[in-house]
Symmetry: C2
């Protein structure tokens, strides 16, 4: 990427991943590396782990945090949940039908425990290794998927939204999901299509103003079409990395993922941290409208 392209001026920034601009969906090739420092970049991950991530677009690390660490985070999670119940802060997102707290955003800013978690070397060194540069936190949130009435998240690429609605120029970011409860096959775990991160599904349609207020509760724009999903599924299949509390799932910003509903009594909670390369800072959103608030997409 030339440094000219990084001036933050949308008029001069070429849109390598156009979406929501056409009435026909399209599948485009990825134009960015997955491992931005290669598979021999120094850091905590082995070369085999880096190669797995490169090929599949995700990496699951069982037992990454100890039982003690998990308990410490869970206690804090409980505090955040209690505080969220009666708050009308915009960082708190509720279930579409029940008004239960579904997510709390920006915990890396507003909560000391999760700030230290997000910025500690244990995680950051991995992100540097994969993104091949210094990193910063693009977004953080806690997800509560309650028992009995956890709703589904339909298939999506995070990058599609971050690109169109937030102005993230290139695919040089990744998510880290930290399981604070055991994940089973039955309580709505995250499903990924391994390998799908090498294809960009350009979605149809427009983006309404202030779309994020609805989309965090139920997605209606930037939704991949069934034919593209079927194509990806037939090529790559579906994996459901599950494991005990304390495991982490790293996944590329462009991997196709989603989750089914959860009617079981087993709640599912996780901390979700998105790291972006400092060389991939946000520009103006590619849909040409105003950008989403800072608690969803860090612009500092």
């Amino acid at each position: 990427m030339s440094s000219n392209a990084m001036t933050g001026d949308r008029q001069r920034m070429i849109d390598l991943y156009p979406s929501r601009v056409s009435r026909t969906p399209q599948i485009l090739d990825r134009k960015d590396a997955v491992l931005h420092g290669g598979d021999s970049a120094p850091g905590p991950l082995t070369r085999e782990q880096l190669q797995f991530y490169d090929q599949h677009g995700y990496l699951f690390l069982e037992g990454f945090f100890s039982g003690e660490e998990v308990q410490y985070f869970r206690d804090e999670l409980q505090n955040v949940w209690e505080a969220g119940k009666h708050s009308d802060a915009p960082e708190i997102i509720r279930e579409p039908e029940s008004e239960e707290v579904r997510s709390v955003f920006a915990v890396h800013r507003n909560n000391q425990v999760f700030r230290e978690l997000a910025q500690g070397p244990k995680l950051v060194d991995i992100m540097r290794q994969i993104l091949g540069s210094e990193v910063y936190i693009h977004q953080s949130r806690i997800n509560f998927k309650p028992g009995f009435k956890g709703k589904e998240f339909y298939w999506h690429s995070d990058f599609e939204t971050w690109h169109v609605e937030d102005g993230m120029p290139r695919m040089r970011a990744l998510s880290c999901s930290i399981a604070l409860t055991d994940n089973h096959q039955q309580n709505g775990p995250l499903m990924v299509m391994p390998g799908s991160h090498r294809h960009f599904v350009s979605c149809v349609g427009d983006t309404p103003d202030d779309h994020y207020k609805q989309s965090l509760r139920r997605q209606e724009y930037g939704v991949p079409d069934p034919d593209s999903l079927t194509w990806l599924y037939q090529k790559f299949g579906i994996q459901t990395p599950t494991g005990k509390a304390g495991s982490i799932l790293l996944f590329d910003c462009n991997i196709m993922h989603g989750s089914n509903s959860n009617i079981t009594p087993i709640a599912r909670s996780n901390v979700f941290l998105v790291y972006n390369s400092v060389e991939n800072k946000l520009v103006e959103p590619f849909h040409g409208k105003k950008s989403r608030p800072d608690f969803i997409a860090e612009r500092q």
Copy 2:
């Protein structure tokens, strides 16, 4: 059961399983056998299989139908689906949000292929063995759980509904679900709580008139409360019997079961047959309102 109790007169029929009559949920013990002919009743199932069914309330038989048989049923399924698309017959139930065909009822009456399937000795001999008497078909349907937008079925005991809304007096019925597509962990398979069939969850609330028109699309009455479900879950856990097309799942009328949504591209279709003992014929519904139509609950 005394023969007096079987006269069909609701006034003289003791309600052994009251539900939707109180404002507090209750968990009652089962008052009926599970194997009505014992574990040495003659028939296709082995004693071990009968004992498994007795203990867990279900039995999964992989590869029960051959690939050829499955293909034959699938072709007919396609015909039923096509015919259902543009029909306004009451037997055809649609998805709450999309109007897609979700279920077609009474296929054992209206379709020759599925009538022969339902009434053939291959299945009927098993049902006789478990129910310890001659049997008849209480209900039949085909379920289409489409890819991408298959909705969840919340936890329920079939018997609770059949008892309250249809007047099935005792627990002497079972369901047979025949998989016509492969069932995976990820495409919304049936979940059961093994052992829960020995407890009856008496639900709170009333039943509105003509409730069935809504309840087949989305259940709102006769819904078990979260505390009872948590109690059952902690005692019994959850199993998800899955396998290839052609497998069958037998399950007791009172086992607690449900399924999550299906956002995967993989459709899930099955034929669902309910067999009841001829000694357990329907009486007046226990909610004291009019009974549901014949295509949902056979009264002949």
